[in-house]
């Protein structure tokens, strides 16, 4: 158990370093752009005085290192600055929009793993027969279009032509739920409104599937490839030589070792989904971090851009840490790094 703790500490350390690097990178990029953020924020009618005042507040005339210093100082005290777009603290904006995106992405992640892994196992089990070919072709297809294309297709098919699902938004207008956590799945339960609870899920499914689709394809292909490779390994043959049933071999001998390389890539795919959430949210009018993110980017709202990117990078790093821990649990070789001689 202590090895797991050591791994955790080490990964957290690396993540902090990475986050700092990310913040520096975006900070540098944002400050190097042409154009005056203060002027853009205040609009064309701003006076020179107003601009100068805002520039002073934003420390825009100082050395870039000093600017970064101010940024870190504020960050440590939990202040991400004010968004020039919403005129609210960025932290408040993030608190409002992040849960919507997180709900979407987590459901998509569950769908991705819940469908992708079994499909990959199925394909590997029946390799080179028709279920395998079918899964591989479908998986490749899903990976071949950006999420917004799938979002559009799904919406056309299942919300327009077959009106099975709602077209947009998180919740039908007839419900008024108090935002406690921001996670509607939770808040509806807190409010005790089960009709609203189902309504939330009804809204969640189509965008989550659209988001997960290419991830499912990836996960299926990867799992299949890993399992097929594992099936070639000598210990599988030995298990067969001992007459264990194919189901048993698939489950106990083949699955676990092939899971490990899959997990790493699934962690990266999760990151890709965070990026793709932007696209799906646009199609389904989902009030999440992406719409906010795109808007602040178009408005060169520096504070908000920094905040959004940092939060996303943070989420990604946390997911990666969890995946790494999972891998450590599954792979004894990582836990016991000493070799015993006889």
């Amino acid at each position: 158990m202590s090895q797991l703790f050591g791994i955790l500490v080490r990964r957290i350390g690396i993540s902090v370093v990475v986050l700092i690097g990310v913040s520096m990178l975006i900070f540098a990029i944002a400050r190097i752009i042409p154009g005056d953020p203060a002027r853009i924020a205040l609009g064309p009618n701003a006076t020179a005085e107003q601009i100068a005042k805002l520039r002073g507040e934003m420390h825009l005339d100082e050395n870039i290192v000093i600017q970064y210093g101010f940024f870190i100082k504020d960050l440590v005290s939990g202040d991400l600055g004010t968004s020039l777009y919403t005129n609210r603290p960025v932290t408040l904006d993030i608190a409002q929009f992040l849960p919507a995106t997180l709900e979407l992405v987590f459901l998509a992640g569950i769908i991705m793993v819940g469908l992708g892994l079994p499909l990959g196992i199925l394909a590997a089990r029946f390799r080179n027969k028709w279920p395998d070919h079918l899964v591989r072709a479908l998986a490749l297809l899903t990976v071949s279009a950006p999420s917004f294309v799938w979002a559009v297709i799904l919406m056309l098919l299942f919300a327009y032509y077959l009106p099975l699902f709602p077209i947009a938004g998180r919740l039908s207008d007839i419900y008024d739920i108090e935002r406690v956590t921001g996670f509607l799945t939770v808040d509806t339960l807190i409010a005790g409104n089960f009709a609203a609870f189902f309504d939330v899920w009804h809204h969640l499914i189509l965008p989550a599937v659209a988001l997960a689709l290419s991830g499912i394809g990836q996960a299926a292909r990867l799992t299949r490839a890993n399992m097929v490779e594992t099936y070639e390994k000598p210990y599988i043959e030995m298990a067969q030589a001992y007459g264990f049933f194919p189901h048993r071999i698939a489950r106990l001998y083949a699955f676990k070792p092939s899971l490990i390389p899959s997990l790493t890539i699934i962690g990266l795919d999760f990151a890709a989904m965070l990026g793709n959430a932007f696209l799906v949210e646009a199609v389904f009018a989902w009030p999440g971090l992406s719409r906010y993110g795109v808007n602040v980017i178009l408005r060169k709202d520096l504070n908000a851009i920094m905040g959004t990117v940092l939060i996303i990078a943070l989420t990604f790093l946390i997911v990666n840490i969890i995946v790494d821990l999972f891998i450590a649990v599954l792979n004894p070789r990582i836990r016991h790094s000493t070799r015993v001689q006889s």
Binding site: V18, P146, V149, G275, F278, V309
Partner: protein, 277 residues
């Protein structure tokens, strides 16, 4: 080379990929001649004919200002392929050299270089591209810059892992013993062993670059109108679903077809090259 080609042609899936890629490339190269309305790739308006459903005049319908969608898709392929080629032409060499040096030299060079790579890799690609496009002017050039910037680390990582493995191999040690210079070892000895993986990745990446680029322009962050871009065409038409479905469906499908082709071809290449080795 011929051997690889033969393997690809034998396999129905990769053959399909080859055909699709061929069609896309041909469309892009010959767009001015193939397009029924070649001038529609620019700022042309024809309000009498706008928003028409597919017909014999316009096989894929017309867009909101009356331009023929089929023609614009052909030109859109041009843009997509140019973007992909340039991005890969820049990102691949940079990433490869990075990876080779880090993988072969090891030591603190390896640590520093790969940490840099890790920083880039830790940001979801689309997020980085979007963030960059947000602070730069949304033009084609800047889009290429943004995508290139987030692409090279993947090659670095790939080449690094191969080079690191090859570092201990006999032929490398032999070259060192002879006294070959580092550059010689990296480029003449190790690099050829990385080439199959690199080429496969590049083919698969073409599809991926098309996806990223169209995603960027879908959000309004890439190519600007009136230049035809598949992603922005989908974005424009999204508001008019479901009635004017052709505005989104055809550009969307054309993305799907192109990327599917590259993916099939890339997969076929990977299998073919493994078979060879």
């Amino acid at each position: 080379m011929i051997g690889v080609l033969r393997i690809i042609v034998r396999n129905p899936m990769s053959l399909l990929g080859l055909i699709l890629v061929g069609l896309v490339v041909l469309s892009a190269l010959l767009a001015p001649w193939l397009a029924p309305y070649p001038d529609h790739n620019g700022a042309v308006v024809d309000f009498l004919n706008n928003n028409r459903a597919p017909s014999w005049n316009n096989l894929m319908g017309t867009d909101l200002v009356g331009r023929d969608i089929l023609s614009r898709i052909l030109y859109g392929y041009q843009i997509s392929l140019v973007l992909g080629v340039i991005v890969l032409a820049i990102a691949t060499p940079i990433g490869t050299v990075f990876g080779l040096i880090a993988g072969y030299r090891g030591g603190w060079i390896e640590v520093v270089l790969m940490r840099i790579v890790d920083i880039f890799l830790s940001i979801p690609p689309l997020v980085l591209a979007i963030a960059m496009m947000g602070v730069l002017e949304p033009t084609l050039t800047n889009a290429m810059l943004a995508v290139t910037l987030m692409w090279w680390p993947w090659y670095a990582r790939l080449v690094y892992s191969i080079a690191r493995g090859e570092r201990e191999e006999g032929y490398v040690v032999a070259a060192e013993v002879i006294g070959a210079s580092t550059w010689h070892i990296i480029f003449r000895e190790i690099l050829p062993n990385c080439l199959p993986a690199i080429v496969t990745k590049m083919t698969l990446d073409m599809g991926f670059v098309i996806i990223i680029a169209s995603s960027l322009s879908f959000l309004g962050l890439g190519v600007q109108p009136p230049t035809p871009d598949l992603g922005s065409m989908v974005a424009e038409g999204a508001r008019y679903l479901p009635d004017s479905w052709w505005l989104t469906v055809f550009p969307g499908l054309s993305i799907l077809v192109a990327v599917f082709g590259f993916n099939l071809l890339g997969d076929g290449l990977r299998e073919a090259l493994e078979v060879k080795s």
